[in-house]
């Protein structure tokens, strides 16, 4: 039996909405893939692009950033800042050659446990199809 | 076959290696000059915004950055189909003329000068700029250093920096010389006596 590639996805989840939503998926006993390693942050706006790149460079196959829906941010506009950084980060990731499916920004409210589960499921399957990122090996390749 | 290897070739900008093959009589059978360096500017400039190339190609050489910068800038003029105004052309030419002075001074005294001033048969440890200054004397040495520095002041006035100046834009240069800048430049080159070796 061949072992299936299990994507390793780092998830930066804001404590007010997304992390609570993820918690709800758990308490509701919703079945979904375990491939996201959650990291709770105070606000999605706190996610420095450095953190995303660090995750990818050190072995992650994908990164999920999840925050409050626009208008609902606990800090008023933190999630707008996230969106600004994310859009520019996408341009840079395109140049690095990292597929857009690997780094996603999603809005998940505290009551959207089911939605969180489906996001993780979709992302896991998409990255499974893409295969491992294995960035370290790409750097070390000697042509 | 005996091989004599000169590695690295010194006192030039860049890397070089020479392999000399000697035959049984001890005479040169053949000699090969090898270039052990490559950076790939031709390829990695692709994908860069074209207006950034004068600054990127400037780094082809830190001894003659102005040459690459201006060549690249003139290429930008062609890309954008623009002809710079006369003042801009004169500023570019002034930068380039000052570059000649600085670059030729650097080349003569630091790079090739030791071969002429100390001689090619001088001991290895003496074929360098410090020995050249030792031979011509500190007064002459200081004068050479000052004139080279004056030329670099002109370069900095136009391009901001003394090494890798930056001023090339399509159709012109990025800044004029302000009147106070022009007046601040002392005309020492005109009044100094000729330097003789």
């Amino acid at each position: 039996m061949s072992s299936r590639f299990e994507p390793r996805i780092v998830g930066f989840l804001c404590r007010w909405c997304a992390y609570t939503g993820a918690d709800l998926a758990g308490t509701s006993r919703i079945k979904y893939p375990p491939n996201v390693t959650p990291i709770r942050v105070n606000c999605s706006g706190r996610v420095d692009p450095t953190l995303v790149l660090k995750a990818l460079a050190t072995g992650a196959d994908g990164v999920l950033i999840a925050g409050c829906h626009p208008g609902d941010c606990h800090y008023t506009s933190g999630n707008v800042k996230t969106l600004r950084r994310f859009k520019l980060l996408q341009r840079m990731l395109d140049q690095f050659g990292i597929e857009r499916e690997r780094v996603r920004l999603e809005w998940v409210s505290a009551s959207e446990g089911e939605r969180y589960a489906r996001i993780v499921e979709k992302m896991t399957e998409e990255i499974r199809d893409l295969g491992p990122l294995n960035w370290k090996a790409k750097v070390e390749v000697e042509a | 076959m005996k091989t004599v290897t000169i590695d690295p070739v010194t006192r030039l900008e860049g890397h070089g290696k020479i392999s000399i093959f000697l035959n049984e009589e001890g005479n040169v059978e053949n000699a090969y000059f090898q270039v052990p360096e490559l950076r790939g500017f031709e390829k990695f400039c692709e994908g860069r915004p074209v207006e950034e190339l004068p600054d990127i190609t400037s780094r082809i050489c830190g001894v003659c950055p102005e040459a690459h910068h201006i060549a690249s800038t003139k290429a930008l003029d062609a890309v954008f189909h623009v002809d710079p105004p006369l003042a801009a052309k004169k500023l570019r030419e002034l930068l380039y003329s000052a570059f000649f002075v600085a670059d030729h001074t650097t080349h003569f005294y630091i790079l090739s000068g030791p071969d002429f001033v100390m001689g090619p048969t001088a001991p290895k440890a003496e074929r360098n700029i410090l020995s050249v200054i030792g031979k011509v004397g500190l007064e002459v040495g200081t004068s050479i250093i000052k004139h080279r520095s004056d030329a670099l002041d002109v370069i900095a006035m136009i391009g901001g920096r003394r090494v890798h100046p930056t001023c090339g834009v399509p159709g012109g240069v990025s800044k004029p010389i302000a009147e106070n800048e022009r007046l601040s430049y002392p005309p020492t080159c005109v009044s100094d006596k000729n330097v003789q070796i």
Partner: protein, 318 residues
């Protein structure tokens, strides 16, 4: 008391850092009288064989500029590390990869194919590429192995100090030399000859509300020399770059391109610049934000202009 032995070396570089040393002018002559220069390919005739013959740790300080591009650069870096008490990564290339590290946006294969075959002025009908080993009638010739990815000096050997800049400006070179002459050195691993604050602190331009509503290519505008570049829509690396250079590029009415490298405790200069630039987008909705993001030409080549080798990703996918 024998004079301390000093060495300089260049790897994949341009010679600008050599010129930066000569910018010391008469001070170089004074300092040179107190030291014994034992290796400096740009200016002295000592060869690798002289270096190999030296006892370990015989050299007091080596100033090493240039990125590690090929096996010769790597070999000499290791040799100099062995022979030197202190090894200094001098200049942007040794510190962050510099301009040569832009080659990390391409590959060895692509560079060779383009440079030796495709460029308009190359005439190479037999597609002859340089080989690390070549047999000629008289014997064998060797040139270095060209690596696929450019590395910094400290990704190759242990480095004691870093002096950023492309090249380091004369005033800072003088400060650095003074530190070594007096022995007044910071702790190992420190960056020397640069400010711990961003270039914005030194820049003489007037800063206003720091919001950017349009992004312009530098040829699309004639910048007002008094106002902040970013506020005028011109991308300037100032917020993510160490000061110490007196913002001379800004004096020439050109934006900073980041040659003094990242600020203290920053592990990725490009990510920080991306964050800084995005943070001042004057855009609130997805459509406007996307428009601004798409107006940035070449994010990798701009944000990592001098530091791609020192970044987290280090290269683009081939």
């Amino acid at each position: 008391m024998p004079k301390p032995k000093i060495a300089f070396n260049w790897a994949s570089s341009c010679g600008g850092c050599e010129i930066a040393i000569f910018e010391l002018g008469t001070k170089l002559v004074d300092v040179a009288n107190k030291i014994d220069i034992v290796f400096w390919p740009a200016a002295f005739d000592f060869k690798y064989s002289d270096l190999e013959a030296m006892p370990d740790k015989d050299i007091a300080v080596t100033f090493f500029n240039g990125a590690i591009r090929n096996s010769e650069n790597e070999h000499v870096a290791k040799l100099l590390r062995q022979k030197s008490k202190l090894l200094v990564a001098f200049g942007a290339c040794a510190y962050g990869g510099g301009i040569p590290a832009l080659a990390n946006t391409t590959s060895r294969e692509a560079i060779f194919k383009h440079d030796y075959k495709e460029t308009p002025t190359t005439d190479n009908p037999q597609s002859i590429y340089p080989q690390a080993k070549a047999q000629v009638k008289e014997g064998e010739l060797t040139i270095p192995d060209f690596y696929n990815t450019v590395k910094t000096l400290d990704q190759t050997v242990d480095v004691d100090y870093f002096v950023p800049g492309c090249p380091p400006v004369a005033e800072q070179v003088s400060n650095v030399i003074d530190a070594f002459v007096t022995g007044n050195l910071p702790p190992k691993g420190a960056v020397m000859g640069a400010s711990d604050k961003s270039l914005c602190h030194e820049c003489k331009r007037v800063k206003g509300d720091r919001k950017i509503s349009k992004i312009l290519r530098t040829y699309e505008t004639i910048p007002d020399p008094e106002k902040c570049m970013l506020e005028q829509g011109v991308i300037c690396m100032g917020p993510a770059t160490r000061g110490g250079c007196r913002s001379v590029c800004l004096d020439a009415n050109m934006p900073c391109r980041g040659c003094y490298g990242p600020l203290p405790n920053v592990i990725d200069q490009g990510a920080k610049m991306l964050s800084a630039l995005a943070s001042i987008f004057a855009a609130e909705n997805e459509e406007d934000i996307t428009k601004l993001a798409e107006a940035v030409p070449d994010p990798v080549g701009t944000f990592y202009r001098f530091s791609l080798a020192r970044s987290l990703m280090r290269r683009t996918k081939q």
